[in-house]
Structures are given as structure tokens and as C-alpha cells.
Amino acid sequence: MINRVSSLPSPDFRSLFESAPGLYLVLTPALIIVAVSDAYLQATMTKREEILGCGLFDVFPDNPDDQTATGVSNLRASLNRVLQHRTPDTMAVQKYDIRKPESEGGGFEEHYWNPVNSPVLGPNGEVAYIIHRVEDVTEFIRLKQAESEQQRITEDLRTRVARTESDTFRRAQSGKQDRIVVFLMTILTAGIFTADLFTTLGIAVHLLYMIPLVMTLRLSYRTAPIMFAIICTALSFLGVYYSPLGPLWISYSNRFLAVSVFWVTVLLVMQHKRVEEERDRFFTLSLDLLCIAGFDGYFKRLNPAWERTLGYSVNELLAEPYMHFLHPDDRDATSVEAQKNAAGGQTFAFENRYRCKDGSYRWLLWSAMPLREQQLIYATARDITERKRAEEELRKRTEEVNAANKELEAFSYSVSHDLRAPLRHIDGFADLLKKHAASTLGDKSLRYLSTISESAKQMGVLIDDLLQFSRVGRAEMRKTVVPLNKLVKDVLGEVRLDVQDRHITWTIRDLPEVHGDPAMLRQVLVNLIANAVKYTRPREHATIEIGCLNGMPNETAVFVRDDGVGFDMQYVHKLFGVFQRLHSANEFEGAGIGLANVQRIIHRHGGRTWAEGKVGEGATFYFALPARKEASHDG
């Protein structure tokens, strides 16, 4: 062996050390790094030449971002222990973040380490080197953390369950007094049997009797009395059945009967008491005003909501006939209602006003039911003062709006009638003058007369447009199903007559049915198509396309596209305004009301309008109507 060993070439221990699979550092007692394994370099993302000869803590400082980092001090303490005791020291798992090289973005990466520091003793027993071996346990720690997170959640759940249980218990405590009563009664009843306790039957019966007791204590109150009653009754019947066997049984059966009747009564009373308590709790809690009133005109019982609402104490309210608290104007109606109740009738949605302590009145909405045998009226009232106020406000507003509408109507009526008359006169007399004096007037004068007529007519058109616009806003909508295909066809029939001298290629796509006012939608199409015709006038060959946008689930969008003069998109917001024009009257005639009408009509249908265009290339006008819901057939 020795020979063989000596015949082998001497191994390079440094490279052996460096390529060992573990993570090793060799430190001098002064904590200078003198050797490092490749694995260590890899795990810490460092390079050998960078760390050899450097102080350990210069190369591996704590993560400055982690205020809780204790790696350095823990490691220092451990190394000191090794130097002092010259024995290996195993450290607890350390969080020691690794500084990432700048090439990987710098910063620190979270790591957990399990380090062991072992001394290498020199010939004199002094510490020559310290081997610092670490295991990267980050993955393990992460798993642990996940596990503890899981545990935390489980714990949380457990706490919650416990809390729920204690809540349930606390709630159950409300019936505790009842249980004590039941227990005492059981002891008492047991006393009855004490005399017979030492007979075999006595013991048996007693045991049987204990069953409902146990049940009462463990079961809910709803089931316990039922179980108890069943067992007691069953036993007493059993006793009656076996009575021929002996007088003892008869006495038992009779006792059972008596005891069971007693028990059932006790439990029923408890049940009743509990129901009453529950009801009282609601009675106290209710925001509505609850009361019991007598046929004699006095309140008998009132819940605290009365105090809260009216400001009077319950006693004050009980002291006087309730009529005294009513608004004088409501007393007659209320007494009629009370008489109706006294005759056995019920009250629904009756309203009256009660006086508050501060002298104001609150509106109450009543619902009442009489109990004639007891001469009582059970009633609940709701404070609807705020609602009434809102209703009143709304009514006032509506009146104001209606008045404003009336005024507007009167205004447009007078515009319609009175403003047009003088215009007619201007044009009429100018025309008459022209006829009468044509021979004596010069060309200039005749032109002046023409201008007067033109202006009058133009103003007439403006007034008509304005009236129409106002009518579009006011006219009642008569909605029905409108087949757009047919409507477009009709409108085109009209428009085409006026443009027979033009070359227009019409492309009419299939259009859907919509829900709307046919006359108004017709006007929309007339305006849009007339516009398309008008603004393609400079084109020798014009193309006008009418179609419907696809893929709009909630609305039906129709467009009219032309290749006319178009418009600048920066003015698009002006297009639909009243009397807004993008062209001079010399270029294209018109008052600027057509698109305003289109928008107003579409808005009244709950839809929207928009436009796209480019100067010299054409324009597309869109209107979209909300898709009709299948359910509404109000056409």
C-alpha cells in the first residue's frame, strides 16, 4: 500500500480543495480568506481573485437594506468561539444576503446559510486556520416558511372556529337561566321518586327519567321539551298498559302523567317567555314606530322609536288621547280610519302628521290591524317626512319645468306667428313695388329690391328652422318599429328627384329595423343624405354610401358616407351645434340647423352621433340607436 501510494504522483491539494463539492472558506486567525472552494464562489457569486487575501467581513458585509441582518455579528461571535475554545462551532441558520455582481444588476439576494466553523490546529495546538463550511439552506428555509405560513393559516382557522364556538356558546348562555330552572325542576321531580328509588322499578324509571334531563342539558331547547314530552307520555301510557300487573305501576303511571304535564307546562311557559323576549327585543330595536292603541283613543304601548321620532317620552304620549298629537287637519281622516279599525277593518298606507315636542310635524305612514275582542289596534307607522319633503320638492320642480315649457311654447308660438308676418310683408311689398315701378326703376334699384326680398326670405327660413328645432325637442315621440331599409328608400326617392342632373353612385347596404319615431328618424336621414348630396356638389362623380356598422352589440350604428369636400377634424365638435357652419353661405347654402336636429333627435332616442372627415376627401356621419330590448313592446 505504502509503496503504491508513494509511487503515485503527489496530488495538488489546492485544486482538490477548490473543486470539492462543498462550500468552503479557509481563514487565517485574523479572518483573512486564504482559500475558497469553487462551489463557495459560485454560491456567493464572487470571483476567487477578488476575495483571496481580503478580510471576510469586507467581502461579505450584511445587506444594508435589511435592518434585522445579524449575519456578520453572529459569524464573528462564532469565529471568536472557535479561536477561543479551539473546537468546531455550529451556527444556527443565518440569513445572509448575497451581494449580486453589478453585471447582474447589483443589490442583494436573500439567502439562508447553515455554517460550521472548524479550527485547524497548528503543531503547538494554536489555531492555524479556520475552515468555514456553509450549506446553502435557502430552499429548505423557503419550504419551512411556506410550511409555517400554512401552519399560521391553519392556526388562524382554528382560532376562528374557536371564536365562532365561543360565540355560539355565549349565545347559548342566554338560555342558561332556563337550564338552571330545568335542572332544579329535575332535582325536585327526582325527590318525588326518592321513596321508590330503592325498588328495582324505581331505579329503572329514574334512569329513564334521566334521559330527558341529559337531553335537556345537551340538546337545543327546541328539541328537548319535545323529546321529554314524548318519553314522559310514552312511559305514562306504558304504565297504564301495565297497570293490571300491580298497584305500584298505577301509581308510577299516574305520577309520570302528572310530572310530564307539569314539565310540558313549565317548558311551554319558558318557550313563550322566550318568544316574548325576542319580540320585545325587536319591539325595542325597530326604527318604525310600533304601537298598541285602545279603541278608547289612548295608546297602550309604544316602542322607543316614538321617543326618538317625536321627542316626547313614552309616558307623555300615553297620558293623552293620541288625537291630541295629530295635526288638526288630519284629525277627521284619522278618526274615520280609527272607526274603520274599530269595525274590524285593516289600515294600509294611511298617512297623517304627528306633532313633535319641538312643535314641528312628522309625516307617518300607517299600517294597522284591530283585535276586536281586546278592543285594541296593533299598528306600525313609518316616518316618511323626508320622503314627503322630497316628493314636494319634486312636485315643485315639475311645476316649474312645466311652467317654463309653457312659456317656451308661448314664445315659439309668437315667433311662429308674429315674426313671420312682417317678413311676409317686406317680401310682399317689395315684390309689389317691383311690379308697379319696374319701368321707372333702374337696374340698381331693382337689385336693391331683390336683396330686400332675399333677406326677408332667408330670415323666414331661419325662423322656420329654429321653430322646427324647437319642435323636435318638444314633440311627443311616437315610437314604433322602423324598417330603415324602407325609410332610406323613401327618402332617396325624394332626394333623387332634385339631383337628376348629378352623377351620384349610391351604395345602399342592408339596414336593420330600429325602434323609434318614424317621422323623426326620417328627418335624420333626410338631413344626412341631403348634406351628403350638398357637399359632394363639386364632384363630377360622387359616391354616397349608406350602411350599418357591424359588431356593436348594444346599439345599431348607421352611417352616411360621401366623398365630398369633407371637413377638418379639429372642428368636428362644432358640426352638431345650432347655427354652426363650416362653410360660408356662398360655398354651400344652409342655416346650420340640420345636424343640430339630427343630434337632438338621436339624443331623444337615447342614442349618439359622431362624424369623421378629411378635407377634400369626404365625410362620414354616424348615428347610433340603443339596441331594442326584446321585452319592450311599447311601440
Binding site: S416, D418, A421, R424, L432, S453, L467
Partner: protein
């Protein structure tokens, strides 16, 4: 031609409108038998032969051209009176008005108006309208028997 013209009653409070209407009728030689009432009351006086028309002995007009907005008694009131009177209700009544208001239109037809014409601002169109009205009602239309020829005073 002139002999065939039947009388027209024009109820119009505005003298300018009267003048223009007459001018329009004149242009087509339809103006020789036009009686002008300056308001609704006068129109009713004429039809009922009251006041300054108490002594008139001629028969009822072939058509009444009625303005809507007039002082004292307005056009709708005149229309209602005419159509509620058994002796007058057969006289054709044409509303000749500035108002395009839907309410006026609906109310006029409800009361039994025979035609409703909105006066155009454009005088030539106005002339056209009046011409058509005049030639239809005063020339073409055959009035109900006993209406135009009737001389007795209508019941009041």
C-alpha cells in the same frame, strides 16, 4: 268668367296682409267679390247679418278665409261658431295663417276646418297659394246647395 266668381269672406286683422291677399287675388282676377272683415267679431257679424252687415241681403260666401290670430274673437272661435251653427256649418272655411303650430292645426281640424294653409314668407309662393285657394273655392268648387243662394238670416 267674372260672372261665375263667388264671394269670398276674408277675415284678417292685419291691413298689410289684407292688401297682399287682395293683390294676390287681383293678379288672377279673383278679387272682385271679396268681403273683408277686420276681426273675428266682424266676420261673425257678417255671417249673422248683425251690426254693419245687418242690412245685407246677399247670400253666404262661397268660402271663408280665416286668420287664426285676431283681436276680439280669434279664428278658432269663429270656426267653432260657424261649424256649430246648422245654417253656417256647410260654408267651407280655410285657415290662412302664419302659424305652423301643431296645436292650431290639430284644433282646427278637430273643429271641422276644410283646409289649413300656412302663409309662406316668399311672396311669390304666397301669391301661388292664394291663387290656388281662390280658383279652387271661388271657381272650381261647387258650394253646398242652399248655402250660397240662401238669403234668410241664420239662426243665432
Amino acid at each position: 268668367m267674372m260672372a261665375d266668381l263667388k264671394r269670398i269672406l276674408l277675415a284678417e286683422d292685419n291691413p298689410k296682409d289684407v292688401e297682399l291677399t287682395l293683390a294676390a287675388l287681383e293678379e288672377y282676377n279673383l278679387a272682385n267679390e271679396v268681403v273683408v272683415a277686420n276681426d273675428g267679431a266682424e266676420a261673425l257679424d257678417y255671417l249673422y247679418r248683425r251690426g254693419k252687415f245687418a242690412m245685407r241681403s246677399d247670400n253666404n260666401p262661397a268660402v271663408v278665409l280665416l286668420d287664426l290670430k285676431m283681436p276680439k274673437v280669434d279664428g278658432l272661435e269663429v270656426l267653432r261658431t260657424i261649424k256649430n251653427n246648422p245654417d253656417l256649418k256647410t260654408i267651407p272655411v280655410v285657415m290662412l295663417t302664419s302659424s305652423r303650430e301643431e296645436n292650431d292645426l290639430v284644433e282646427s281640424y278637430r273643429l271641422g276646418v276644410n283646409a289649413y294653409v300656412v302663409k309662406p314668407v316668399d311672396f311669390q309662393q304666397f301669391v301661388d297659394a292664394v291663387k290656388k285657394l281662390g280658383s279652387f273655392w271661388a271657381l272650381l268648387n261647387e258650394p253646398p246647395l242652399g248655402s250660397v243662394g240662401k238669403t234668410s238670416k241664420p239662426r243665432t
